[in-house]
């Protein structure tokens, strides 16, 4: 399979994301100003500080030319993964519910966190078991997941919360310990932790690998069905 990783001005995790994707398939970098997704099977919107985080995190990046293509791809059922700043961009673009607010501590946080798989029924967690723990680092200032109360209940009812911070691990004040959510169609997923930084045993835990392996498995199954 082929991944496309977007590079915005200010992205900084696109190379790690590309390397992580390359552990399970091919991966190319997609420039923010291009409208061509190059026939990829899945898009990764990576971490960083797209457009300098000016105005609000993700607010300007969502209007990048490539994002129009990503929106079209997502609406057609294409697999889209947003990591950290990519999660913020997808929320601003309306492709994911909710918004990310400054951490309650108002500090930049950089640490390893334990996550729990809240739902394994998705293209992003399909190879995991519900309740499985993944150890993945977070590094952000604006990672407090917020949605109005009734929307949170709706997200939980629809099984759209895929990852939660394990008890006592919530680093940023995210409501209901939500670390990652998907859209109603379950083909767009955003999370604040960085799975692409947790794929190489040389540098620590490999809790990020199941995310990429799940996407590969999903795309392979989907190709067989077709």
């Amino acid at each position: 399979m082929k991944f496309g990783v977007i590079r915005f001005p200010g992205s900084c995790d696109e190379v790690d994301a590309q390397l992580a994707c390359q552990r399970v398939g091919e991966a190319v970098i997609l420039w923010h100003g291009d409208r061509d997704l190059q026939g990829v099977d899945a898009v990764v919107v990576p971490g960083g500080f797209s457009y300098g985080d000016y105005l609000r995190v993700g607010a300007i990046a969502r209007f990048a030319p490539v994002m129009e293509e990503v929106a079209e791809f997502a609406h057609a059922g294409g697999i889209v993964l947003g990591i950290c700043n990519g999660f913020q961009v997808l929320c601003e673009a309306g492709l994911l519910p909710g918004a990310l607010l400054p951490n309650t501590s108002l500090r930049f946080i950089f640490r390893q966190v334990e996550l729990e798989v809240a739902s394994a029924d998705s293209p992003f967690t399909g190879t995991c078991s519900p309740g499985e723990r993944l150890s993945i680092p977070v590094k952000h200032t604006t990672g407090r997941f917020y949605a109005p109360d009734e929307q949170l209940t709706q997200l939980e009812g629809n099984d759209q919360v895929l990852l939660r911070y394990a008890p006592g691990q919530n680093p940023n004040g995210s409501l209901r310990d939500i670390a990652g959510v998907c859209n109603e169609g379950r083909n767009v997923f955003g999370l604040m932790p960085h799975p692409e930084h947790a794929v190489d045993p040389l540098t620590g835990p490999t809790g990020g690998m199941p995310i990429f392996e799940s996407i590969r498995a999903h795309v392979a199954d989907h190709a067989l069905v077709q």
């Binding site: 105005l55 601003e92 951490n103 407090r144 917020y146 109005p148």
Partner: protein, 120 residues
């Protein structure tokens, strides 16, 4: 037209910046201060003021988490303490739009406040 967009966190959303400021003020002897919220100010010259609400909802604010008030500014060089936060009632400032359900700023500063010299 010169416009000013005041953006504030939506009521009910935890605002740690506002809380930090609220906790800092008593340390300087300012008591009786509550409900501090820290927002953002955007000023812009705009040919079509009618487009401001859409600008606010599509880019300048995130309506899920922020409220806004749009005001016109007659002359940009006005006394910043007097401000135009008074909305329709303040001299030179007309409130021309705001988040749905939000009352455009009806804050009128006591006359003495504008005469306090800026400590900086």
């Amino acid at each position: 037209m010169r416009a000013r967009v005041l953006v504030t966190p939506k009521a009910g959303i935890l605002d740690p910046q506002g809380q930090a400021v609220e906790r800092a003020l008593p340390a300087l002897g300012f008591t009786g201060v509550r409900n501090v919220h820290v927002g953002r100010l955007i000023e812009l010259d705009v040919e079509d003021p009618g487009s401001l609400p859409e600008m606010c909802q599509r880019l300048l604010t995130n309506p899920l988490i922020e409220d806004y008030v749009v005001e016109s500014v007659e002359s940009p060089g006005r006394d910043p303490i007097g401000g135009s936060a008074g909305g329709a009632e303040s001299p030179g400032g007309d409130s021309i739009g705001s988040s749905p359900g939000r009352t455009p700023g009806a804050v009128t500063l006591p006359s003495g406040v504008a005469e306090v010299p800026n400590p900086s």
